[in-house]
């Protein structure tokens, strides 16, 4: 009998036949850091863990409150609602209850990630420290970082840490809102890749041109952004940045009201010289979406697309999306857009 090294080859057979054993090896030795779980980052994580890429989850938000509205395959709605009920298990000491219900989102998801792919057993982990308390050199240890619900400040901080460490690592900041989704992708200044040219043929090593770091992307004034096919800044990109700022501002849990959002948006749009873009937005409707942004299939599509980008980064195969990904769930179109700072 042929000795099966392990069931690794059997489980991954169908994908090794696509990207090759060498690419699989790189993926199997990689670790991706997920900061703040949302529908879309959970989808990316699900896809990559299945494919054999280990996950480290950093999310110190309280479970289940922080993820109650999150449509993802890891947390079941029923479980979360039960955990929410204050009168459940009456008389149970608080300490015991606290033990039964994990405190943070990261600790709640740990066993579920582990279960998804036993071949990764022991390689996944969680980071329960708050994002702000992580040392600067923390981020460069990962092969890719996938983040959601970041503030611009947080994203820039991570970007600068990565630049200091001088490692070419992928850093994605992505959010979905209603039918739309958007991602900023920074593959790292040193990232090189090979294009697929056909049957087992790859191009010479290529660099990402032009390269713009996450920090520079976030610093670029949106009003001036144009593209070859875009006379003005894409609406979806504006929305992600507006919401990053809005969510960042209201992170401390005050109740969001339509009026507050509308006022915030108007001010934000005018501050960013985007009032003309703002005219095409229905801010009242956007207010509801801002509070309840996640739609399962939108997360699934963008999570699949971004999962492929992470695989490109890990394997160095295939042309990376440089540097904004825009998804419109209404017509199903997804395209990359170059934000040229």
């Amino acid at each position: 009998m042929v000795q099966r090294a392990d069931s690794h080859d059997d489980v991954y057979d169908r994908q090794i036949r696509l990207w090759g054993a060498d690419a699989q090896k790189r993926m199997s030795s990689a670790r991706v850091l997920y900061i703040n779980l949302t529908g879309v980052t959970c989808e990316i994580m699900k896809n990559l863990v299945l494919a054999g890429v280990a996950a480290v989850v950093c999310d110190d938000r309280p479970y289940p409150e922080a993820v109650r509205e999150m449509p993802c395959s890891f947390f079941h709605a029923e479980e979360m609602e039960k955990a929410m009920l204050p009168e459940s298990n009456e008389g149970e000491p608080e300490a015991k209850k606290a033990k039964r219900i994990p405190a943070t989102v990261a600790s709640a998801i740990q066993s579920k990630v582990e279960e998804l792919n036993p071949l990764l057993s022991g390689r996944n982990s969680i980071e329960e420290r708050a994002l702000t308390s992580l040392p600067d050199d923390y981020f460069s240890q990962f092969d890719a970082i996938v983040a959601s619900r970041l503030t611009v400040l947080e994203a820039k901080h991570i970007s600068l840490s990565l630049q200091q460490a001088e490692v070419g690592k992928l850093f994605i900041v992505t959010d979905t809102f209603g039918f739309d989704g958007c991602a900023h992708l920074d593959f790292g200044s040193r990232h090189t890749y090979r294009r697929e040219l056909g049957k087992d043929k790859l191009s010479d090593l290529l660099k990402i041109e032009p390269y713009i770091s996450m920090a520079d992307m976030l610093d670029a004034p949106l009003a001036g952004v144009k593209g070859r096919w875009d006379k003005e800044v894409p609406r979806t990109l504006v929305l992600q940045r507006l919401l990053m700022d809005y969510w960042g501002r209201s992170k401390n849990g005050q109740d969001n009201e339509t009026q507050r959002f509308v006022e915030f948006s108007k001010e934000w749009l005018s501050l960013n010289n985007l009032s003309t873009v703002g005219e095409s937005l229905d801010l009242n409707q956007l207010a509801v979406i801002a509070d309840h942004p996640e739609v399962s299939p939108v997360s699934a599509v963008l999570g699949g697309i971004l999962g492929n980008e992470v695989i490109k980064a890990l394997t160095g195969k295939g042309e990376p999306a440089n540097n904004i990904m825009l998804f419109n769930g209404f017509d199903g179109g997804c395209r990359s857009f170059l934000l040229n700072a």
């Binding site: 042929v2 000795q3 489980v11 057979d13 169908r14 994908q15 036949r17 696509l18 529908g39 699900k46 896809n47 299945l50 494919a51 054999g52 109650r68 509205e69 999150m70 449509p71 993802c72 395959s73 079941h76 709605a77 979360m80 609602e81 036993p118 209603g178 039918f179 040219l197 056909g198 049957k199 096919w229 339509t258 229905d282 009242n284 409707q285 509801v288 979406i289 509070d291 942004p293 739609v295 399962s296 299939p297 939108v298 699934a300 599509v301 999570g303 699949g304 697309i305 695989i311 295939g318 999306a321 998804f327 769930g329 209404f330 017509d331 199903g332 179109g333 997804c334 395209r335 990359s336």
Partner: protein, 779 residues
């Protein structure tokens, strides 16, 4: 989509938290549609698992799932509702249970009064149907009509055609999707909206190779793999004569004639650089050489059948058929295992010598390779001696891996050790014995096929020699599959579901006929490399139906064949069932029913007609100019077939400037539908018509083995997206000025039908598609 999206949560009924996002984006009334609609899902594999998750997390509470399959370990890299403990269990059952756990519970009831009971407040139910969608007693038009829409998550063309027809007949929208590797597509099929149906575009046909290429003149590794699968069948198959390599004295003569025809034929389809070497073989010379060479074969005129027959009885495949055999599987005369092993090894040496020495010498003697660039070199007798256990079989070594490439002697040793293993299992009465059909997941089968294929490659100087891993991809027609692509297309499908439900809701509210899905739904391609404008997911408008589609447009199908040779039976098997996909056809000529089948029909009633030539059928016959009417009640399908007689068949080879030459195909392959060879692909035909089995994937358009019910990759070589609406004003993309939109790129775009077990890499298929060396010629 945002018509009545809400602008405030005030005064709205309670909603499960995870559905608040859906409600914010879609509005309360569409959310209620979601909660109450019944959805049918066909297939719970790669795409199906993703669909179930999306449906559950979007709040769907009434979903039924049809799937025939059970869970395999190679599913676990993407079919994420399954765990290794589930291997072997029905997919639809495990998937339904897992998805149901994700469905959010109904919201806590508002303070009294309680809302009236609606379907949305009933318990959610995800109902598995472990069965075959071809089972008309369960999955028929009335069954389909229970649903608001149908989602396809299938991996084969045959089942897709079936669902397509049932949806058209039931007037239920169908959301179709497929993936192959990085590529995929999603579309919506709705009769009332005037969209293209699944069968409007021809499905590329299955790859088959000329028999002579397989039997005598292989030039690529895949030819050797196909040959080795036939050898497997010759050694272990329940019916030795089913193997393409089978030879008997009478058949041998016929076959030789066929070979000579085929040789000429095959050449035309070989690569151009091969032109010089084989084009001049003529039938006459060949025949003369056959006579000379034939004498070399032991046991009659076949070089190997004698040894093969002995081997089969030694292995217990043919229990009592060979009087000369000293062994049988009966216990009273059973030799000890040691004896069996040495007897098998000695017989294996004979067989290998016959196949890789005598037969090759015979073919050389016949002049088969006179003009070839490189004549085959028979194995040396010392190589053949590796049978005798002097070289350990490569899969017995420590640290062997499926990616190892074996030497000649290792291949010989491997074949011998496979044969010994089979013989010993036979004696041990292992219930898995005999091995009826080749199965790529059977270890012995793959070892045997890899070794035999490589020996042939060594003899013919064909490179590269395949590892077992590579050979498995070829022999099993494995199509790569990854989690991300499945997630993408399933997500896009559910987004289309929202559009369909919205349109249905509009009809409910405002009246009207419906049929407006073209306004909101899209045909979406999932690409590996972005288009010129950066698209990785490229939406296009839903295409119009093909006016010549016999499935959705009732178009008349024109059929040309030799009406003096074709019998009704041939017509039914090859054309009506296989090509046109009829399940229970009724055939009429004028008012006369000449054939009928189905539950209540006595098969003997029309049995007499089956053997009749078409021209001799009742009702005036089906000769030139006649019109056949074929109906299938189970699919609500009627088609008129306009018959024209044609008895001269030549193959026009465009690669050679339209040079026409004689056609060596079997009668049953000589026909033409609609002016083209085939209307649609027909995977999963269960007919075991000889010849099906020699097909193997590798042409660019297609991948699957029909026998295994597996599916295909469809890569349109010159694909141009239709009605592209990138900016809603962008014209169809044809530019090739940029790398991204280059011709190479466009070629890569695929209609990729989800193909879990199908073929090779998408890009390989594209590459192969450019090679003109593949032919559809059969036997």
């Amino acid at each position: 989509m945002t018509d009545d999206a809400i602008t405030s949560n005030d005064d709205l009924p309670p909603c499960p938290p995870i559905l608040l996002g859906i409600r914010a984006a879609l509005g309360q009334s569409l959310l209620e549609e979601i909660l109450s609609s019944k959805i049918l899902l066909i297939g719970s594999g790669g795409i199906g698992c993703e669909l179930l998750k999306n449906l559950a997390l979007s709040g769907f509470r009434h979903v039924e799932v049809v799937d025939l399959d059970t869970i395999d370990v190679s599913n676990l890299n993407r079919q994420f509702l399954f765990r290794s403990v589930h291997v072997g269990m029905p997919k639809c059952v495990v998937a339904s249970e897992a998805a149901l756990r994700m469905v959010p519970p109904p919201p806590p009831p508002p303070s009294p009064p309680p809302t009236p009971t609606t379907r949305s407040s009933q318990a959610a139910a995800y109902l598995p149907h472990h069965g075959n969608v071809f089972d008309n007693s369960r999955f028929n038009v009335p069954f389909f009509q229970k649903f608001a829409l149908v989602l396809n998550a299938l991996d084969n063309v045959a089942a897709r055609r079936r669902v397509n027809r049932l949806c058209l007949a039931s007037d239920v929208p169908l959301i179709e999707a497929g993936t192959a590797g990085y590529l995929g597509q999603v579309t919506v099929i709705d009769r009332r909206s005037g969209t293209e149906c699944y069968e409007c575009q021809p499905k590329p046909t299955q790859k088959v190779y000329p028999i002579c290429t397989i039997r005598s003149t292989p030039s690529q590794p895949v030819h050797c793999v196909v040959w080795a699968k036939e050898l497997y069948r010759l050694c272990f198959g329940p019916k030795v004569e089913d193997s393409m390599l089978y030879e008997d004295e009478e058949g041998l003569r016929e076959r030789r004639e066929g070979d000579d025809d085929g040789d000429g034929d095959g050449d035309g389809d070989e690569k151009k650089d091969d032109d010089g070497r084989r084009t001049t073989t003529t039938g006459d010379e060949g025949s003369a050489d056959v006579a000379a060479g034939g004498a070399k074969g032991g046991g009659g005129s076949s070089a190997y059948m004698g040894a093969m027959t002995d081997l089969r009885s030694l292995l217990g495949v043919d229990p009592a058929s060979s009087p000369g055999s000293s062994s049988s599987s009966s216990s009273s005369t059973s030799p000890t295992p040691y004896d069996v092993a040495s007897a098998v090894r000695s017989k294996a040496r004979e067989v290998i010598s016959a196949l890789f020495v005598t037969e090759i010498e015979k073919q050389i003697g016949m002049g088969t390779y006179r003009t070839a660039d490189r004549a085959p070199e028979p194995l040396s007798s010392s190589d053949v001696d590796s049978c005798r256990d002097v070289v350990p079989s490569p899969t017995m070594r420590d640290g062997c891996a499926p990616t190892d490439v074996w030497s000649v002697r290792e291949c010989v040793a491997e074949i011998a050790s496979c044969l010994v293993e089979v013989a010993e299992n036979a004696i041990a009465q292992d219930p898995t014995f005999p091995l009826p059909e080749f199965d790529k997941d059977d270890d012995v089968a793959m070892r045997f096929v890899t070794a035999a294929s490589n020996l042939r490659s060594y003899v013919f100087g064909i490179e590269p020699i395949q590892s077992m891993y590579d050979a498995k991809g070829m022999a099993g027609n494995i199509i790569p599959a990854i989690a991300t692509t499945n997630a993408i297309v399933a997500g896009l499908q559910v987004l289309q579901v929202f559009h369909v439900l919205r349109a249905q809701l509009d009809v409910k509210k405002n009246g009207g006929e419906g049929g407006k899905l073209k306004e909101c739904c899209r045909y979406i391609y999932c690409l590996r490399d972005k288009t010129r404008k950066g698209y990785l997911l490229q939406p296009t408008t839903l295409p119009d139906p093909n006016p010549e589609c016999f499935v959705c447009r009732n178009a008349i199908v024109s059929l040309a064949l030799n009406t003096n040779e074709w019998t009704l039976d041939m017509l039914l098997k090859r054309v009506v069932k296989k090509e046109l996909g009829f399940a229970e056809p009724t055939v009429m000529i004028g008012e006369d029913i000449v054939y009928e089948e189905g539950e209540d029909i006595d098969p003997s009633e029309y049995a007499a007609n089956l053997a009749k030539k078409m021209v001799d059928l009742p009702g005036g016959g089906a000769g030139h100019g006649s019109v056949l009417r074929i109906e299938d009640f189970t699919q609500d399908l009627e088609v008129e077939v306009s018959v024209s007689h044609r008895d001269c068949w030549v193959d026009v080879d465009e690669e050679k400037g339209g040079e026409a030459k004689d056609d060596g195909r079997a009668e049953m392959e000589k026909f033409e539908i609609g002016g083209k060879k085939l209307v649609a692909a027909t995977a999963a035909s269960s007919d075991s018509m000889k010849g099906d089995s020699v097909s193997a994937e590798s042409d660019g358009f297609r991948a699957a083995s029909a026998n295994e019910g597996e599916d295909v990759l469809l890569v349109e070589e010159n694909y141009v997206p239709r009605g592209v609406n990138e900016d809603s004003k962008m014209p169809a993309q044809t530019s090739s000025e940029h790398g991204n939109g280059s011709k190479e790129q466009l070629k890569k775009r695929a209609f990729a039908d989800q193909a879990e077990n199908g073929a090779k890499k998408a890009k390989f298929n594209v590459e192969d598609a450019k090679k003109p060396d593949l032919s559809e010629v059969m036997s």
